[in-house]
């Protein structure tokens, strides 16, 4: 799993350093870098991410003020040059606390903590639900409620038997996030819940009357996954 992250840091040198570490680790995609908390907040209104590298003292609002305004809780690694924020860090349930400048080894230690916490949150690979940001709120969707997910450019549509939810995300990103025991990518524009497949004909499959294409690349994977007697 690759973590989708942002960096909120007013010191360009520190941000460049961090970007380089993220790239080197191969475990983190840095979606954006913000020089202040306000711009980061605007971004977070429309985007769901896994991890924030967050400075505390910046021009304008502080890192903690940003955390207070979040409607959901990504993991947070504080990056600061002070050690006095331990209590606040604890109160905000941050995953780790890196004192600038920090070494690559120390950065990797922090990533390990992120990984452990992710496992705790998801309960390993047995995650049975996900939260999506739609209609201005966070909505909990059980895997069993989702029929399939369809790409709409920079957005995706979650199809359930009763409602469709549109959210800002991509199939490529979701592919690494959904429970692989339940979901499978069958086309560059579709991820399906394969427990919901009604029938398969050549290069299409049907779920609740919806026709979904299966790409050549994914055909063999689909056939391996279904139980043919």
């Amino acid at each position: 799993m690759k973590y989708q992250s942002i960096i909120v840091e007013d010191l360009q040198v520190a941000a460049d350093f961090l970007k380089r570490y993220c790239e080197k680790s191969g475990a983190i995609d840095v979606l954006a870098h913000f020089l202040n908390a306000e711009d980061a907040m605007e971004f977070l209104k429309d985007n769901v991410i896994d991890l924030i590298f967050l400075d505390v003292e910046m021009p304008g609002a502080s890192g903690f003020e940003l955390l207070d305004q979040l409607v959901y809780t990504p993991q947070v690694i504080l990056t600061t040059s002070k050690t006095e924020y331990a209590y606040d860090a604890f109160q905000h349930n941050v995953t780790d606390y890196l004192k600038k400048p920090f070494t690559y080894q120390r950065f990797l230690d922090a990533l390990q903590k992120v990984s452990k916490k992710t496992e705790q949150i998801n309960g390993g690979s047995e995650q049975d639900h996900m939260f999506i940001k739609a209609d201005g709120k966070l909505i909990r969707l059980h895997n069993d409620d989702i029929l399939f997910i369809e790409s709409m450019g920079d957005y995706v549509k979650f199809i359930t038997p009763v409602k469709k939810y549109i959210t800002h995300n991509t199939i490529k990103n979701l592919e690494t996030k959904v429970n692989p025991l339940v979901f499978m990518k069958v086309h560059r524009s579709y991820i399906v819940n394969f427990t919901k497949i009604n029938d398969i004909q050549e290069n299409v499959l049907f779920i609740n009357g919806n026709m979904i294409p299966i790409s050549k690349t994914h055909k063999s994977g689909v056939m391996q996954k279904i139980n043919i007697l």
């Binding site: 010191l11 360009q12 040198v13 460049d16 003292e57 600038k100 070494t103 080894q105």
Partner: protein, 134 residues
């Protein structure tokens, strides 16, 4: 530090915390060069800002600039200076007046001048090394 391909050693200057720098940059001397260069530029611009805040008597503003300058010193191996900057940041927080902060500020100004010169010299050494061996 070594260039992996050609095993040409680069030793950071002894006045810097070379053990820490070795740990920080590993074998990535290009990153070290880039960071030293941008740190010199940023220290210069923050120094001007600090002067202006001090002369305006804006001590909370000065504290913010000092806070921003502090980690920059770590990236160039002047970790001892970081502590002095941290101490001055505390003075700014507690004093609130330019008179009280004045003596400390002169010392910070000297440290910054020295840090810029040192980092600039090290940047040129790194640049020369990287041009020659990388």
């Amino acid at each position: 530090m070594y260039n992996e391909d050609q095993k040409i050693a680069f030793l950071f200057s002894p006045e810097l915390n070379f053990e820490f720098l070795k740990e920080l940059y590993g074998d990535d001397l290009q990153q070290a060069e880039m960071v030293f260069e941008s740190t010199v530029q940023q220290l210069r611009s923050e120094q001007q800002l600090a002067e202006s805040r001090f002369h305006d008597g804006d001590i909370p503003g000065l504290k913010k600039v000092i806070h921003k300058m502090k980690p920059l010193l770590g990236y160039i191996g002047l970790n001892g200076y970081m502590e002095e900057f941290a101490a001055f940041e505390k003075i700014c927080l507690e004093s609130g007046t330019a008179t009280y902060a004045e003596k400390g500020f002169h010392h910070i100004r000297d440290l910054t001048d020295h840090a810029i010169k040192t980092a600039e010299k090290e940047f040129l050494r790194l640049k020369e090394h990287n041009t020659q061996y990388l």
